[in-house]
Symmetry: C2
Subunit: 456 residues, 2 copies
Amino acid sequence: MIDPRVASGLRDLPPSVMIPRERMLATFRRTFGAFGFVPIETPHIERMEVLAGKGAGSDEVLRQIFEVTNKGGTPGELALRFDLTVPLARFVAKHVDELGIPFKRYAIGSVFRGERPAKGRFREFVQCDFDTIGTESVLSDAETAQVIHDALSAAGVPDFTITLNNRKILDGMLESLDLAGRSGQVLRSLDKLAKAGRDAVLAELQKPTGDGTPGLTGDQASRVLEFAEGGRGGVEVLREAENALGTRPLAGQGIANLRTVLDLLSAAGVPEDRVSIDLGLARGLDYYTGIVFETTIKGWERFGSVASGGRYDNLASLFTSRRLPGVGASIGLDRLLALMDEAGWLKGMAKGTPVLLANFPGTDPAIPFRMAAELRAAGIGAEVYPEPIQVGKQMGYGSNHGHKIAIIVGPDEAGRQVFNLRNLATRQEDKGLSWSVLVDSVHSVLQALEQERAQS
Amino acid sequence: MIDPRVASGLRDLPPSVMIPRERMLATFRRTFGAFGFVPIETPHIERMEVLAGKGAGSDEVLRQIFEVTNKGGTPGELALRFDLTVPLARFVAKHVDELGIPFKRYAIGSVFRGERPAKGRFREFVQCDFDTIGTESVLSDAETAQVIHDALSAAGVPDFTITLNNRKILDGMLESLDLAGRSGQVLRSLDKLAKAGRDAVLAELQKPTGDGTPGLTGDQASRVLEFAEGGRGGVEVLREAENALGTRPLAGQGIANLRTVLDLLSAAGVPEDRVSIDLGLARGLDYYTGIVFETTIKGWERFGSVASGGRYDNLASLFTSRRLPGVGASIGLDRLLALMDEAGWLKGMAKGTPVLLANFPGTDPAIPFRMAAELRAAGIGAEVYPEPIQVGKQMGYGSNHGHKIAIIVGPDEAGRQVFNLRNLATRQEDKGLSWSVLVDSVHSVLQALEQERAQS
């Protein structure tokens, strides 16, 4: 016998995980589509040259790459993608002439990283990315935040905050401290603020980096930290930043960008308290060049960001000389699902087909078979139990699988052309209903159950 | 610069392919769900031991396997799955106790085979499988055909035939010719009937096989062929087979099974002309043990089967001593889409978001931004053009991307709180409509366009 386990760091997803996951993905696809984003798909296997191109992935990610070889293939030539961004860059470079710009695409798919296996860390996970390529318009910046808002709302997340920053504000601030060009160093330290605390960050800011860049002075370090920590809140944060840095052209551009984004989100009806400015938000290190996004769920901040992204100057510089700016974000599907599960927000989601038709011993199975088809034709999911075993066991199957009601036709009912309708939760049974009212009666019972659920 | 090409045998799927593909997958998921099938997902990467287990895949498939290795991993330990059946067997063996039987699952995902690249043959392709595990009920056999019927109908395929056979009938026939146990050999030859013709098959049947099994006699070979060729049609085929073979217990079981399946499908309202018997249908060689299915589209038979499957005695014998019979089928998504595209059946499918909102130079972009949000809240997809370029160019973008209508608010219209509504196909424009009727007017124009399309 072969051991049926999965390889280390990988996992099977059972129906209890997959049903809410598919529902959530359908919601995301609908949301993306409503904004004019269109789906693309690229292969799971890419040429190694594409994945390992300079700057395509961090050194850490490249160390985690899975190589792929088939018989007759050259080792080291192919690998599994580690994100959807590098494939997007390649795709756009290859197809931009036929697609035209702006190009708004979404992509949902598995990516692979040979990380050391740990709780909650998997070597295969799903990314949901959407990006707008080929425009520097602030409308696309605002729209990216709006899509995050609409997607999470539609998915049933009750309360969350989309935090915004713009890399140019920090760059302008660093300019004002004679620290122009040092933003990578500073961002890497600021990124640790929440986890390591302010003292650790202050100390790190003052240390020289590995490549010999000197540390900040004590005064520079505290002013950077003060700036980052002080800049959290609503539009008033931007007013203060303007007073402090408004004359710096870079900072001024960043502030104006966020101001317009707030105005546009408000015009689009995104509630003000769903959006927040944080001038210390360091997301994405050197990759992003303008606005950056991060999204936390209120009360569940410890899960980290569930939707993040930002604007980049040039998506596909590895593959084409054509400059392609863009903005986009990625929704962390698995993290969001894990959080919603723990919060109890997935409960009550209809779990399967609502109706089970008993296969009563001695009754012609063509009867439940026909009834099930009738229910499905009316848009009601219906499953016939495949074997004529003891009816109590069939009812147990229904309860375990989330069926709401069962339709039972014993030989006596078959002769009278009637059925019994059992509520699987309460075990109450309506007896002797005529076959002619099957769809109507199932429909009204299901509606009543749905109303009960909504009110509880 | 790195060449942005994909590796040999792989492909990018642009929006024009992905939009109908996602629609079709949503249709399939809905259909599977309506019958009580639930989704599962297994990793793309499996342990080689699982994939290469005896009988898991044919020798040809095993030669095409992609090995996967990461730094620090052992070469030869991991590989990409080549189908969804072996992972299903592993999954069921591992999880059957918690899931219980019957277990009805569907799975949709990419599989990988290092085939020699050729037109229409790809090294990564999507399979859509559904199976009922843990029951030998004929209801599940019938339901499998019914799911194929409902899925293809819902996907918009106008006319097709689901062809049925039962392996036991052929086995009984071979018994009657003193050829018991020779079905593998016979099926492999019969499988070539459509392509190679009857003379080639007659000759092959009389040749000894590689493992030393002698060939059939000339008389045996012609009787086998006659039986296979003569047995095509409706229920009358079963009556003839019963007369010829009814006393053979195996053949009798197979005939009774198909008869019940026809009765159940008829009870479920599947039109009679959608189902056909073919006693020569050899599908699946040695793997299947009972009913087998194949589905061809009327007028497009040259594309081969788009949905195939059958019943097997023991799914997971490699992984567990528990006997798990089952029945299932796989829909060939990409083949079906290619066929429907060529037949013109995908035309007229709404291609993207229906409404484009112009970003008129000089108009506050918050105006179209707000209008788009209003339309989306009413369930109407709406996209704002991100840059205030020449409006004619924006309209060109809309026409190219399948938008039906454009909403235009120039500075003059903004002052009067009105908009112009342009039909992007006819270029007709309704001018000066009040902002308060935005949703209503867009809704009624879209409805009228949809009716026009349906009538044409």
